[in-house]
Amino acid sequence: MAKITGKIVAITGNAAVAQGMRQINPDVVAAYPITPQTDIAEEFATFVADGLVDTEYIAVESEHSAMSACLGAAAAGARVMTATSSQGLALMWEILYIASGMRFPIVMTNVNRCLSAPINIHCDHSDSMGARDSGWIQIYSESAQEAYDNIIQAVRIGEDEKVRLPVMVNMDGFIVSHSIERVELLEDESVKNFVGEYKPSFSLLDVEHPVTFGPFDGLGGFYFEHKLAQIEAMERSREVILRIGREFGALSGREYGFFEKYRLDDAEVAVIVLNSAAGTSKHTVDMMRREGHPVGVLKLRIFRPFPTRELCEALRHLRAVAVLDRATSPGTTGPLFGEVKAALYDLGKRPLVVNFIYGLGGREFKPEHIRCAFEALLEISKKGKVEKPLDYLGLKEVEVIS
């Protein structure tokens, strides 16, 4: 059992994130409420009202404005945080690219929720997957504890001089955001020391050294080269993510890497998952292991930058892999599947890969569904070929009303 370094509390994922934000004590928070993120904005606003933080809280009229206000504050040299979900993240979309393009280390919690239509407020990963190309580092969290741990690390990762990129920390809407869990909170002082003081490279408010933020950079300019600089910063973040994960481990007893392997090294088949479904998957693995099945789990934590090399190393010994996507891209496979399959292509001897879409719009995802995936994998492993590359877990029978 890891050493306990802080206080053990029973709180929701949203409350855990709000507590983390309180301890980080950012200079500016600009946020707009949206289910299931609302509690984060609400609880943090309470901390501001109660004088527990020094944060300037900007109540805005939309998420487009929230992210825009974050940009302005970041240009002024502030440490900035926000939180959103689903339609809110979609409304921020154009500003997400500006945040990463201007190299502002804004830290945002995204509480994963599907996108309308039909209208639905429950969990899937369509929101963050839609923003996967926006130049933000993306971290996924299985539990309230991980969401809390991840936002504290995100501040250090994004602000690192080698990186200077915005970071999005994801957790599952309702499943994690609204479920009460055991969470170990670090001491306020420990978090304060861990995140340190933000030293921006430039500040709009430094009138002694005036600078121009966000200039035009057209055909005769260097847009392409600036994008390459951004790509290189994302590449450099790999080493920083691992370093901060180790440092956080030394502080908390909970070390983090690109992913977590669960009974994977001696497995023959495995599933790859993001966020809370990892818990269900591990539970199912324990059950099936008792029955003698060689099954395992790889829980991906870092989706951007995508840990291609490390993932290949972790998966190369397997006979078959199922990638579980809680998002779709109509017309092709799930987004995570596409990336995992592409990563494995360069291996000479590689596992067979299949895609399962699950849990859209918060559809329940149970051990029996994971078992279905594992049984399909064991069959593929036996036959040595994939007959159905894409399938769906947990669909309901539809009764036709005439």
Binding site: G101, M102, R103, F104, R164, S201, F202, H209, P210, V211, T212, F213, G214, P215, F216, D217, F222, Y223, E225, H226, L228, A229, E232
Partner: protein, 96 residues
């Protein structure tokens, strides 16, 4: 192919100077140019209020001409001028 050196660029395309727009002479975008008639001008300064680019030159409270370095030739001054003392003319002249 030239060697790529990211460190030569400022992060986020930042320019380590202020007020750089003054060096970006947008007058070259113009396809029509305003011609100001000092004789018929009533010095009401409505053109100065409406000009979106601040391209009406004013000295001691009086219009003294057009700043062709920045005038984009939108023609708002012509539309707004009560005594019709500003008329748009073909081409981007007079600064070539």
């Amino acid at each position: 192919m030239k060697e790529w050196r990211a460190e030569k660029l400022m992060p986020g395309a930042l320019i380590p100077l202020g007020g750089t727009a003054r060096w970006y002479k947008t007058g070259s975008w113009r396809s029509e140019h305003p011609v100001w008639n000092e004789e018929t001008c009533k010095q009401c300064l409505i053109c100065w209020i409406y000009c979106p680019d601040g391209a009406i030159k004013v000295k001691e409270g009086k219009v003294i001409g057009i700043d062709y370095d920045y005038c984009k030739g939108c023609g708002i001054c012509e539309v707004e001028c009560p005594p019709e003392a500003i008329k748009m003319a073909e081409g981007g002249e007079p600064d070539g």
